[in-house]
Structure formats: C-alpha cells, structure tokens
C-alpha cells in the first residue's frame, strides 16, 4: 500500500498538482488577507468619521440648547433603527441619556480625541457583551458624552472572508485533483506509451517504432525525433554487422592465404632464397591487409559520426584541384586525359582530409575502372555551386555501371565482376559515400554517356547535429 502511494507521489502528475495547490493557495491567502485588511481599514475610517461628525453635532446642540436639548436629541437618535451608541453621564456617573446601559472599564479616564475600542451591554437585561468603537468627550459641567458604533458586523465580515477562503481552498484541491486526473490520464499516458515502446525495442524488437498519435503535439514531435534516432541506430547496427560480415569474408581470405604460404615455405626445403621470397610476399600481403583494415576502420568511424575529421572552413575547389594535381602524373603515365574544371572557389565547412580522400578515391576509381575499350580515356573532374549546394563531379568515359548495380557498388567490399581482377580493397566508393553522409550530403552514381559519373552533393551551410541518416 505504501509503495503504491509512493508511486503515485512520485508521478509527475501528482507533483504538478501539488505545485498548483501550493501556488494558488499562497496567492488566494494573500489576496483574501489583503482584501480583509483594506476593508477593515476603510470601515474603521468610516466609523471614525461618523463618530466625529455626531460628536460635533451633539456638542453644538449642547452649546445652543443646553443640557435638556442635548438629552432630547440623544434620546431621539438613540431610538432610530441602526442607531449609533450614545451615553451621557453626569459628574457622578449617573446615566442621563443614551442606549447603552454599561460600558466596561473606566471610560472617563480615556476621554479624548482618539476613538477607543470597548465592550458594552445594551441594557441591564442584555447579557451579550458587544464590541464597539467609541469616542468620549467631556462637556462643560463635568458631563461625559460617549458616541460610538457597534463593530460586531466587522466580526461577521471576517467570518465571511474566512469561510470564503476555506471554500476557495476546497475548490482548489478539487481542481488540482481534476488536473491530476487529466495530466495522468492524457499526458502521462502518452509518456508511458513511449516508455513502453522504448522497452519493447530494448528487448530486441529493433525494427519497432514508437506510436505517433497524429495530433502533431509535443509528444508526437518527441516520438518522431526518437524514431529518427532509432532509424539511425538501426542503420549503424546493421553497418557494424555488415563490417563484421565483411571482415569475416574479405579479411579472413587473405589471412588464410598468408598463413598457407608461410606454412608451405616451412614444410618445404630449407632454402634461403625461397624463404626470402616468401617473407617478401608476406610483407606485401600484410601491408595490403593493413590498408584494407585502415580503410574499414575509417569508414566505420566516419559513418558512426565519431570523427568529424577536423571540420573547418575550406575551399572545396582548391581541394579538388590539389587532389587532381596529385593524380595528374599517374593519369598522364597511363595515357588518361585528366581535366579539371574548378571555375570558382567554394568555401564550405568540411574536413579537408576526408573530402580530399573522397575525391582521391573517386579519381583512383576512375583511373582503375573507367577505361574505354578503345580510344582516348578521359576523366573530367569539376566543382560547381548550385544554390546552397557544392557539386563535385568525377566522370570517366569507360563502361560505366549498369543501373541495377549502382546501389550495390556503394556498399563495402563490393567489387563488380568486371573489376575483380583489378587491385583494390573495394572500399573506395563506400568511403566516399560515408564522407558525403558525414557532411550531410549525398553521393550519386550516374551515367556519363558513356562512362560513370559520380556526383557528390554537399550543402554549403548546414547546422551541426542536423545530420540526416
């Protein structure tokens, strides 16, 4: 039971409701106290003014008409409905006129211009002790005149305010309970559904996604973001799975070859020249393995986004120009015409190293696989600015890649049948694709008619953290 209660207390709905109650209570108490206080002050002032006016009037009566006139006026006023309190005594304390039979305390001693609060009885038979605000003055001839107003109604007013406050509190608790029910039912239910969805996915349902209610509110937006994150994670997990599959396939094969060669050398005759040849071949093969392994690791890191390769403001045209220049002698030597067209400098936030490597891979690829059967082999490298997009294009005039194979060519280790005999790890294009993604861009294999055209499109301005999957 206590744990169930604790669970309720820990919910956001409960906490929110508690905060509502606290805040509104403080406010309403403040307002009620403020109103009560101000009203009290106002009423007090009115009573004082009334008393003061009556005293002035009665004093005038006395001065003009003498004692008898005053007594008459007092008697007359004292018996009107809602009358003030009057009491007139002589020097010995005998009551001469008025509607008050007894005043508690020595009033005579407290005569003056300031009203005072006293308790009194209306008549000898009236046992109720009432409260009044009175002012006492002494008239010539040692007469004492007391005028006052009963302030019992103010007590009544106070009790009304108090009960209003109590009602307000009850109402607020009721509203808080309703808001608790609303929040817990509607809002927290959505959060619970998201938690449940997340748990389901954690239990292994990687393809599962969070429900979207379709109302387009914050919870839908949250669920959409989380789903996008899940897409990305799923993509990465399959990426890792791909890597391990590929490692198993494409790294184990050369490792086995390596091992077999060394084993064969050991079991054969002990000949220094043969050993040497085997060792040299072993070094060469292990270098190629290391190269493949490095390429795989950098692709994995670039794809996971765990490296940004040192993003800075760079001139993409200068990078393309430099890399093309790096390959130009090789192209020249192998009889390929390499042309570079970089009409303007294009500043982009990118990793010089990774972008350079991507372009190098594309040119390398074109040099290796982009040769026509006859005629002059040509590779055209260019940069262009299309609106907010940097376009880097590497096109050859070789055989190209058939439509059906293009998607596959971007995957790791895929070497299309024709190029199996050529050296290379089969990772060049997939690294370029990973670099494009890291820069929030795309890579596209197209038809250069004839030949293959690889186009990298990178946004020139992009916000960090807005990487698409």
């Amino acid at each position: 039971m206590t744990t169930a209660l604790g669970k309720v207390v820990r919910t956001t709905a409960f906490k929110l409701s508690a905060i509502y109650i606290a805040v509104f209570s403080v406010f309403s108490v403040f307002f009620v106290v403020y109103i009560a206080y101000s009203t009290n002050v106002l009423l007090n002032q009115q009573v004082r003014e009334t008393i003061g006016t009556e005293l002035v009037g009665l004093s005038d009566q006395y001065r003009v008409g003498g004692l008898s006139a005053l007594i008459d006026v007092i008697d007359q006023r004292a018996h009107q409905p809602g009358a003030s309190l009057y009491l007139m005594t002589d020097a010995d304390g005998h009551i001469l006129a008025g509607n008050v039979s007894h005043v508690t305390g020595d009033v005579a001693a407290r005569s003056g211009i300031e009203p005072i609060t006293v308790t009194y009885h209306r008549s000898e038979t009236d046992s109720a002790e009432r409260t009044a605000l009175v002012q006492v003055i002494s008239l010539p001839g040692d007469f004492l005149l007391l005028v006052g107003r009963d302030i019992g109604e103010r007590e009544q007013f106070r009790s009304i305010i108090t009960s209003a406050l109590a009602w307000a509190l009850v109402l607020m608790i009721g509203l808080a309970a309703i808001s608790y029910l609303f929040v817990s039912r509607n809002v927290l239910k959505r959060i619970d559904s998201i938690s449940a969805g997340a748990r389901r996915i954690m239990l292994g349902d990687l393809a599962g996604r969070l429900d979207i209610a379709g109302s387009g509110d914050e919870f839908d937006r949250l669920a959409e973001s989380l789903n996008a994150m899940l897409d990305r994670i799923e993509h990465l997990i399959y990426g890792i799975k791909d890597v391990s599959d590929n490692i198993a396939h494409d790294l184990k094969t050369p490792l086995t070859r390596l091992r077999n060669r060394v084993e064969a050398a050991l079991s054969g005759p002990a000949d220094a020249a043969r050993y040497r040849a085997t060792l040299e071949a072993t070094i060469e093969e292990s270098d190629q393995l290391i190269r493949t392994f490095n390429a795989l690791l950098s692709i994995a890191r670039v794809e996971a986004g765990s490296t940004d390769g040192g993003m800075t403001e760079v001139d993409a045209s200068a990078i393309v120009h430099d890399v093309a220049e790096l390959y130009e002698p090789v192209a020249d030597e192998t009889g390929v015409e390499l042309s570079v067209e970089t009409p303007e400098s294009i500043t982009i936030k990118a990793s010089r190293e990774l972008l350079g490597q991507a372009v190098a891979n594309l040119i390398d690829n074109a040099l290796k696989h982009g040769r026509p059967d006859s005629g002059q082999a040509r590779i055209a490298v260019s940069t262009a600015k299309e609106g907010n997009t940097l376009v880097i294009r590497v096109a050859d005039n070789g055989h190209g890649i058939p439509d059906a194979d293009r998607e596959r060519a971007l995957q790791r280790f895929v070497r299309l049948e024709k190029s199996r005999s050529q050296p290379g790890s089969g990772l060049g294009l997939s690294l370029a694709a990973a670099v494009a993604r890291l820069h929030n861009g795309t890579i596209e294999l197209g038809d250069a008619k004839p030949g293959l055209a690889v186009t990298l499109r990178l946004p020139i301005h992009w916000v960090d953290g807005a990487k698409s999957s």
Binding site: G309, Y327, P329, E353, G356, Q357, A360, D364, S425, G428
Partner: protein
C-alpha cells in the same frame, strides 16, 4: 643520436631498440609513462619516440609535461588509432610527428632522423646545395651545374623537402604529408610518378644521379 623509446610492449621495444642500434643510434628504453617522463626529464636525448597508450601515464601527458617545462626535444607519437582527430590531438599535445600503427621500421627511422635534423641550424638555410644541385628558397629557382631547371610549384616543394633532408631517407607518406598535406593512403603509386617526373628534370643528362630510390623505404637526395 640518442633516442628515448617509451613503449610498453616488450617485444616491440626490443625489436625497435635492436633496429635503431643497427642504424647507428643509441636507444634507451622506458617501459611505462612514469619512468619515461623521468628519463626524458633528465634530458640529453635527440628524439623521443612515445607510444600513445602507456601504463601509469599517458604518452601525450608525458609530452605535454615536458613542453610545459620548456623542453622541446622533438617527439614522435606512435598510436594504434591513427585517425585525423587523434593525429590532431597528438600534435596539439606537443608531439612533432605522428605515426599510426602498424608501421614499417624504415618509416619510423626516416621520421626519427627527419625530426632530429629539424633541430639543426642548417635546416633554416635559404639555399640548399647537394653537389652541383642548388635550390634557392627565396627566389624559387633550381639549378644544376649552373644550368637553371624550370620546375612546377609542386615539383619545387617536393625537391625542397627532399633537399632539406638531404642524405636521409624520405618515405612516400612523409612526402604526401609534407608536400601535399594529406595523411590518407593514396592506394596508387602517385608519389612514385611525381618523383620520376622530378628525376627526369634534375638528373636527366647528368652522369651522376642525385635522386635515389631506397628500396622498400623511400627516396633520398645525396
């Protein structure tokens, strides 16, 4: 040349020490970061070879500490990571060069020697001379036996780097890093073709070649 090798793997350390000794250097070995830092602090080394991940104290921390004390002994950082970010971190900590594992010994040796050479005063000279081959860094001119040789800007930088390290092996990756400022593996023999073009310009028609290929390692001007 006195070299301090801070490396925790015993086998690698023994192999490197032996190879460095065979190359005519005097290597000392420290098996962890603390001992390494203490030995480096004693000074007297021409080059430090520091593994990045070491027991007790990180390799980069050792270098950083030395630099804070004003010790600028050149340091080569060895690392299994080898990514761009790690290289930047290594150089930022005060390392002078960065070599990702696995590496060929010839690469390590060439880099260690280049680092040591950088400290010598003649590295800042404006005119490099190797025999009758002359390169003027201010006027950007190259001549051999008094005959001017016109070079493309990149060829000039290639020759400049080779001549700065005259008499020493310069590897292909060192050339790619220092002349083109790229650290990736170009896969194709791009550097070799650049070298053969340069060779055609500076050695063709002369009896004695200046630009030599060092088999399995790289190139050398002498």
């Amino acid at each position: 040349m006195r070299i301090l090798l801070i490396e925790d793997d015993k086998e690698t350390a023994a192999y490197l020490s032996k190879a460095l000794r065979e190359a005519g250097h005097v290597p000392d070995h420290a098996p962890d970061g603390e001992i390494g830092a203490a030995m480096a602090a004693d000074g007297g080394y021409d080059v430090l070879v520091v593994d990045r991940m070491l027991p007790k104290r990180d390799g980069l921390a050792v270098i950083e500490e030395l630099r804070k004390r004003g010790d600028h002994t050149p340091a080569l950082v060895l690392s299994a990571l080898g990514q761009v970010d790690d290289r930047v971190a290594g150089l930022h900590a005060g390392g002078d060069d960065y070599l990702p594992k696995p590496y060929a010994f010839s690469e390590l040796l060439a880099r260690v020697e280049a680092l040591a050479r950088r400290r010598r005063p003649d590295a800042a000279e404006t005119v490099f001379r190797v025999g009758d081959l002359e390169l003027d860094r201010l006027s950007h001119t190259v001549s051999r036996a008094g005959q001017p040789i016109p070079l493309q800007p990149r060829e000039f930088r290639l020759l400049e780097y080779l001549m700065k390290n005259a008499g020493q092996v310069v590897t292909r990756t060192m050339l790619l890093e220092n002349v083109w400022d790229y650290h990736f593996d170009p896969q194709t023999n791009v550097i070799d073709v650049h070298i053969s073009r340069l060779r055609a310009k500076i050695d063709k028609g002369f009896r004695e070649p200046r630009l030599h290929t060092v088999r399995g390692a790289g190139y050398m001007i002498r």
